[in-house]
Amino acid sequence: MATILTINGEQKSFDAPPEMPLLWVLRDILGMTGTKFGCGIAQCGACTVHIDGKAVRSCVLPVSAVRDRAVTTIEAVGNSPAGAKVQKAWLDLEVIQCGYCQSGQIMAAAALLAATPNPDDSDIDAAMAGNICRCGTYVRIREAIKQAASGRQS
């Protein structure tokens, strides 16, 4: 039976087992590869997407739990004001190195700013500590979130 999801504002219809994590639906069925596989056990945050605006780890989220809820991925996060600010700050401060974890970092940061427009360091710690960056871009991530929040230019 076809499953229908609203992803980035578009209805997508596909066949998938109900327990299949959203991550693999996005990547392997829909060909939306911006969302990354990192650990498969919600330990690294590379697979972070928004479900109704909240940051969620798609690698452990069964597709059956998503029905009737809005999915946003890295491909469309720039359409929201918070997402666009985060993307710009990321480029202004040259946060990114290999970039593999950054889809998840940007999704987590955009969700943070949408909920908490002026986060302090402890807000940033709480929202971002679930996202591992092996290249070690943490210092710049913190700065970029603050810049995105203040609208300040580099």
């Binding site: 596909f14 998938a16 087992p17 299949m20 994590p21 693999w24 639906v25 990547r27 392997d28 069925i29 060909g31 939306m32 590869t33 911006g34 969302t35 990354k36 596989f37 990192g38 650990c39 498969g40 056990i41 330990q43 690294c44 590379a46 991925t73 890295i74 491909e75 996060v77 720039g78 993307q87 990321w90 480029l91 040259e94 990114i96 190195q97 290999c98 970039g99 593999y100 974890c101 950054q102 889809s103 940007i106 940033i124 710690d125 709480a126 971002m128 500590a129 679930g130 996202n131 591992i132 960056c133 092996r134 290249c135 070690g136 871009t137 943490y138 210092v139 710049r140 991530i141 913190r142």
Partner: protein
């Protein structure tokens, strides 16, 4: 399902064949400063050439530069981008001497071709050794300058003027006398007909317009919106997805496989049983994973099932008692050690996994007479030849499409994931993407070797009078690049021991090759200098204490012949407020190193709580890397490298039980996270010296600087990594 239209959209950015074209408005790898003549001939080169890019209708003066008639400038990247920023820095070096219009620059991954794109240090396509800029500095400047000269010749011929009266800037040739200008695009075809000059003049560094500027990276705009394509993102019509289980015991084989239940998992297409691993192919990764879980596999574990960490360390400690091959000897070490105040200590470093955020993967399509590979690798030509062997095809029948790497750190200096994917893909006629789970990735790595470095030294008048340094550990080079392993010495394993910066009259370095039982070893970001810088700098702090001197003061007194090292040390001490009072159980630790031809001094400030938990308070690094092609990239590499090294110091250890790795994912192979990181202050020294390596030096600096901070805070001299909290809790002694 994936439609052809979706794939076209997705792959449309790939431009030339299927290699990724990065358009934009616009340091790392591994290994030592190879001083050996490894060039060409010493190792099999890939003679057969994968068809390079299309050059018809373009100015294509060499392997690196293409300018079309619209002036679009495509630069072909001989080194791979794995986060270190090399695509931007290499482009800046080419664009500088070409006087290219930076806004018209686009990039292509190089195809496998050692002749055109072999790293000048190795003669092979290798991204590692922190040497992308070091190795290519002269060749790429020459390539850019030669192309520029041909464009000038073409314009001068058109105008019938002396080429010497023409100037270039931002993709245009100008004639000062007449005010005429021609763009490189207009000149492209005429330039193609020019004879390249033999001796081309390179710019005086004072005239650089791009080099030395923190230009925006070319690879990052597509990394903020999900468009960047890594190896794991390869998508092909009709492709299927596979995941693997290798024998958990190193060297073990597959015994019996019962696939009754696995075959019933919806979406499972095929079960592939190889001699050492089993793969399940499905309609998507989830089906493959569920299928693999449903398999009943009996392993033939083999002799390594008896090996554990205890045996491995016994083996290494015994080996480290032997005499080694002498890598360097100055003065009279026997005489030197006979007098003065004696010190001896051994420093031990654990196995480490790479844990790149992009798990290892490869996509392969085998046809009757060809093989095509999609992956992200640090060794694209070796991947091509190894894939050919595994496929049973001549190498010219193998196409390798390289991609951006989601971290490399040395793991992708190995071709094993591609070879495995080829063996699996041989069983089917459709393309198959093989993705390792994080658990398989961590448990089937090639690990940073265990090392034991022993320092025997004497103090006379508060200075080190004799220094005997012995490294015991795996010779990764002997396996990876056999011609580089000469006279029993792994030049990587002793690299930063031989180059220790201190003036010591009797100085002696030895190496004992000790391959750990069962466990495969490989290059890991920071490579040999990781063990050397750690042991040298830990020993220096202990010797300073023994001499009753401040650690910075003690080092300063032995740096008369190393002005660059002395300068960064002084600067770091000043910027880090060295010597100023700190609260109880807070300490500052210093590390000085000259690794990868870059001088770095680092001060870490840390607090150790009563339970022995470590909190980082501040990190300051001063770096003299010679000419910094892109200073912001240098800073970024230092920030990231320090975190990579500090992560290892705080958490990194792979342990072995019954021949298998005990860690499996990020819950038990931990990483530093953002809430644990203080500000990192990196200061880049302005310098006119040739560029040094930058991708790995920060990794070397983190562990010794932190360990020395712990020594200052607690008085406990740790001699093993990672940090053992039980030894530094209140009231404990090492």
């Amino acid at each position: 399902m994936l439609t052809a239209e979706k794939l076209r959209q997705r792959n449309s950015a790939d431009g030339v064949s299927r290699r990724v074209l990065l358009t934009g408005g616009l340091a790392t790898g591994f290994l030592l400063a190879f001083h050996l003549p490894l060039r060409a001939a010493s190792y099999a080169m890939n003679e057969p050439v994968q068809p390079p890019d299309v050059t018809a209708g373009k100015f294509a003066p060499n392997a690196f530069i293409r300018i079309d008639e619209a002036g679009n400038t495509t630069l072909i990247m001989p080194q791979v981008e794995m986060g270190q920023g090399t695509y931007t820095s290499i482009s800046m070096v080419l664009a500088e001497e070409l006087d290219a219009d930076w806004t018209k620059v686009a990039l292509l991954h190089a195809p496998p071709n050692d002749k055109l794109y072999g790293n000048p240090t190795f003669g092979l396509q290798v991204t590692g050794n922190s040497n992308s800029i070091r190795a290519w500095w002269k060749p790429l400047r020459t390539a850019g300058a030669t192309a520029r000269a041909m464009l000038v010749q073409a314009a001068a011929a058109e105008w019938q003027v002396d080429p010497a009266s023409c100037t270039t800037s931002k993709g245009e040739v100008a004639h000062a006398g007449s005010g005429r200008k021609l763009g490189y695009g207009v000149l492209a075809l005429a330039a193609q007909g020019q004879t390249p000059p033999k001796d081309v003049l390179l710019k005086d560094p004072k005239d650089f317009v791009y080099i030395g500027q923190s230009l925006k990276r070319l690879d990052t705009p597509e990394k903020v919106n999900g468009k960047a394509v890594y190896g794991i993102d390869a998508l092909l019509p009709d492709m299927k997805f596979a995941t693997v289980a290798a024998c958990p015991v190193f060297g073990g084989k597959v015994g019996k496989v019962d696939d009754t239940a696995a075959k019933k998992v919806p979406g499972v297409r095929k079960i592939v049983v190889l001699d050492d691993m089993v793969a399940v192919i499905g309609d998507h990764m989830w089906a493959a994973k569920k299928g693999l879980e449903a398999l009943k596999i009996e392993w033939d574990e083999g002799p390594n099932a008896k090996i554990g960490s205890k045996e491995i360390w016994q083996h290494l400690r015994a080996a480290s008692e032997k005499d080694g091959a002498v890598a360097k000897s100055v003065g009279d070490i026997a005489k030197g050690l006979a007098t003065g105040d004696k010190f001896e200590a051994s420093f031990e470093m654990p196995f480490l996994a790479h844990a790149s955020m992009e798990p290892i993967n490869a996509t392969v399509h085998i046809k009757p007479d060809s093989c095509e590979v999609w992956t992200g690798t640090q060794i694209v030509s070796r991947v091509q030849s190894e894939a050919a062997k595994a496929a049973g095809l001549p190498v010219e029948k193998v196409i390798v499409n390289n991609h951006l790497l989601g971290g490399g750190f040395g793991r992708k200096l190995e071709p094993d994931m591609v070879v495995a994917a080829v063996r699996i893909a041989k069983q089917v006629d459709y393309p198959v993407k093989v993705v390792w789970t994080r658990e398989e990735d961590i448990q089937h790595d090639v690990y940073r070797p265990v090392y034991r470095d022993t320092v025997t030294a004497t103090l006379v008048d508060g200075k080190v009078a004799a220094w005997k340094y012995k490294v015991a550990g795996s010779a990764v080079l002997a396996r990876w690049l056999p011609p580089a392993f000469q006279k029993g010495i792994d030049i990587d394993a002793v690299d930063a021991a031989v180059d220790a910066p201190y003036d010591i009259p009797n100085f002696h370095v030895e190496y004992v090759r000790a391959e750990p039982p069962a466990v495969p070893t490989g290059f890991w970001r920071g490579v040999g200098p990781n063990n050397n810088v750690f042991a040298v700098e830990c020993a220096m702090d202990e010797l300073a204490r023994k001499a009753g001197k401040d650690p910075v003061e003690f080092r300063r007194a032995m740096l008369a012949s190393k002005p660059r090292a002395l300068a960064v040390l002084n600067s770091a001490a000043e910027k880090a407020n060295w010597g100023q009072p700190l609260p109880p159980r807070v300490g500052r630790g210093v590390c000085l190193q000259p690794s990868f031809e870059t001088f770095i001094a680092t001060v870490v400030e840390a607090e150790i709580d009563e339970m022995g938990e470590v909190r980082l308070r501040r990190v300051v690094s001063v770096v003299d890397t010679g000419i910094a092609v892109n200073p912001d990239t240098v800073k970024a590499q230092l920030e990231g490298g320090l975190i990579f090294g500090l992560t290892a110091a705080l958490y990194g250890e792979i342990t072995i039980d019954k021949g298998r790795v005990q860690q499996s994912n990020f819950h038990d192979y931990r990483m530093l996270r953002i809430d644990q990181m203080p500000k990192i202050e990196v200061h880049v020294v302005k310098s006119g010296e040739p560029p040094g390596g930058i991708g790995e030096t920060g990794v070397n600096a983190g562990p010794p600087a932190l360990r020395n901070a712990i020594l200052a805070a607690t008085g406990v001299a740790l001699r093993r990594m990672p940090i053992d909290r039980s030894l530094i809790a209140v009231g404990k002694k090492a």
